[in-house]
Amino acid sequence: MKKRITEDRVVDIVVYILLALIGIVTLYPFYYTIICSFNDGLDLMKGGVYLWPRKFTLANYKLFLEDADWIHAFWVSVAKTVIGTGLCTVFTSMFSYALSRKNLMFKKAYRFIVVFTMYFSGGLIPYYILLKELHLLNTFWVYVIPGMVNGFFVMTGINFFGSIPETILESARIDGASEFSILTKIVLPVSKPFLATLALFAAVGQWNSWLDSAYYVRDNELRTMSYKMMTTINQTLASAANADAAGQMSQANTATTFTVQATAMVVSMLPIMCVYPFLQKYFVQGMMIGAVKE
């Protein structure tokens, strides 16, 4: 008996220590970024800032907010996320609602096309040529139109809508309701968990994407936060490497680039951090979509 109690306690202690470590390792990088964004740039270069800002300042945020380029990029990202999510949610629900109806003609063929396009694609270059030929390149629409239908979302939608009993819909049809009003008045109101998950994942995807802004647009007007962040990080690393090589000096520049980079990172994390505690449930539900997707 005694042996079991000690084993229990040892396991308990190990579990708590490991979990606490995992928690710290997961959170510290975010926390450190936040500290950097509130610390004086030059002071940060001296090193030794680990746990809290040593020379607290709001200058980085001021610099960020006064930089018209950053603010513009921020709003492009917002517009892209809002419009892209809206289009994806509407289009995906209509499409998967139709495919979820059991008496739909050619249903099998339609579903086959969805699944087939989930696993096979023409690859990068043909896709790029298609975007070019559709005159989507270097327009805002290249952000939102290509993501409107996602096979993984559609398959989840088919499963979800398929569980709604046909009899309810049929009685509405007899009353003369159109499919569109059945969808918006009956189906969607009872599908909130699915819609929330779909919208959340579409939004996160839009907010986080960077390759589209790097390669599908040329005008600075159309660049997103993610893209600007990527170029800034490249700059910081390059100038850090140069500073290392050249001795130290001229680090004033580096410090500000880095702290502004940290500030931009905090700003770009903000939307996700804000909704995260409230929408956690939907984040977890998305796992099932993600599990198939990865």
Partner: protein, 317 residues
């Protein structure tokens, strides 16, 4: 006679559900344009194509057979690219795969509900930030001169000068695998935690009465209980093996964290194809290179589908 009647019947049925059919056909039309049409573009790999000739050029340009494939296979970088792609994926398979399982077991073994929930919530946060942000974080933490980890290591006297995690080719694979683990373990732990919560709790009670300690219960009840999920996730990751398997993101990492200094280990087939096409405008060659990886991936997906069918009776498609 019978045939025309059934045809007419089908047509009336189709007309009756024309609204639903419009919804469906809109989606199918969309997929046709954005997914099916590009598939025909694969023939670019066998042609000498110039982007200025547009879509027509795909059909009118000259056939060159396997010229671009030969060029890729005999390229002096071919061996290196293949090695980098396979090694990175294999390392992720070996090191990143077990972590979510261990994490899920740790979380399920924790008795404090509040602590448990907090750690779980925290653990999958990194999954929702972009790779650009992770790249930024890695620059803040790991850069040779000012990264906080290097600062701490030098302070503690473990190293004399910072470790070049981001610039030395020797460190690229390790850094990538660790960052993948950091980003996705919490997320994948969800699936294993769900499996653990599905295990019959009377099994644990019975084992405990029989005198099995905590470790024995983990080994003989928890692990066998989640074997099904482990196998499923493993099968799924076969199909995406070349992209990095379960944790994926080979392309994102190599693209963002690859630089001229660590290029020897960071360049993979996908980033090479991307650069050849987008930066150098060699569209046909890039399509051929991309196609080589796609062909391997298709074989892997088919294998994964077969295995899934055999193991669980249900395939991916």
């Amino acid at each position: 006679m019978k045939k025309t009647r059934s045809l007419r019947k089908g047509f009336t049925k189709f007309k009756r559900q024309k609204e639903l059919q419009i919804f469906a056909l809109a989606g199918i039309g969309y997929l046709f344009i954005f997914s099916i049409i590009p598939m025909f573009g694969i023939i670019l790999a066998f042609k000498s194509y110039k982007i200025t000739t547009g879509i027509q050029g795909i059909f009118t340009s000259e056939w060159v057979g396997l010229q671009y494939f030969k060029e890729f296979f005999t390229d002096y970088r071919f061996g290196e690219l293949l090695r980098n792609t396979v090694v990175l994926s294999t390392l992720k398979m070996i090191f990143a795969f077990p972590v979510p399982i261990i994490l899920a077991i740790l979380i399920s073994e924790c008795h404090s509900k509040v602590f448990k929930r907090t750690i779980q919530t925290v653990s999958y946060l990194p999954n929702f930030v972009s790779w650009v942000l992770v790249y930024g974080i890695s620059s803040a933490l790991l850069s040779q001169g000012s990264g906080v980890i290097n600062q701490i290591l030098t302070e503690l006297g473990i190293v004399k000068t910072g470790i070049p995690f981001l610039t030395d080719p020797d460190y690229f694979w390790g850094t990538s695998v660790v960052l993948s683990i950091w980003k996705s373990s919490g997320w994948w732990a969800i699936i294993f935690l769900a499996a653990i919560s599905g295990i019959d709790s009377t099994l644990y009670e019975a084992a405990s009465i029989d005198g099995a300690g905590r470790l024995k219960r983990i080994w003989y009840i928890t692990l066998p209980g989640i074997k099904g999920s482990i196998v499923t996730v493993l099968i799924l990751s076969i199909g995406s093996f070349l992209g990095g398997g379960m944790v994926g993101s080979n392309f994102e990492q190599s693209f963002l964290m690859g630089n001229t200094v660590n290029n020897a280990t960071s360049e993979i087939i996908q980033t090479y194809a991307f650069k050849m096409g987008m930066a150098q405008g060699r569209f046909s060659y890039a399509t051929a290179v991309d196609l080589v990886q796609s062909m391997i991936s298709i074989v892997l997906i088919l294998i994964s589908n077969k295995v899934a069918k055999k193991v669980s009776g249900e395939g991916l498609f």
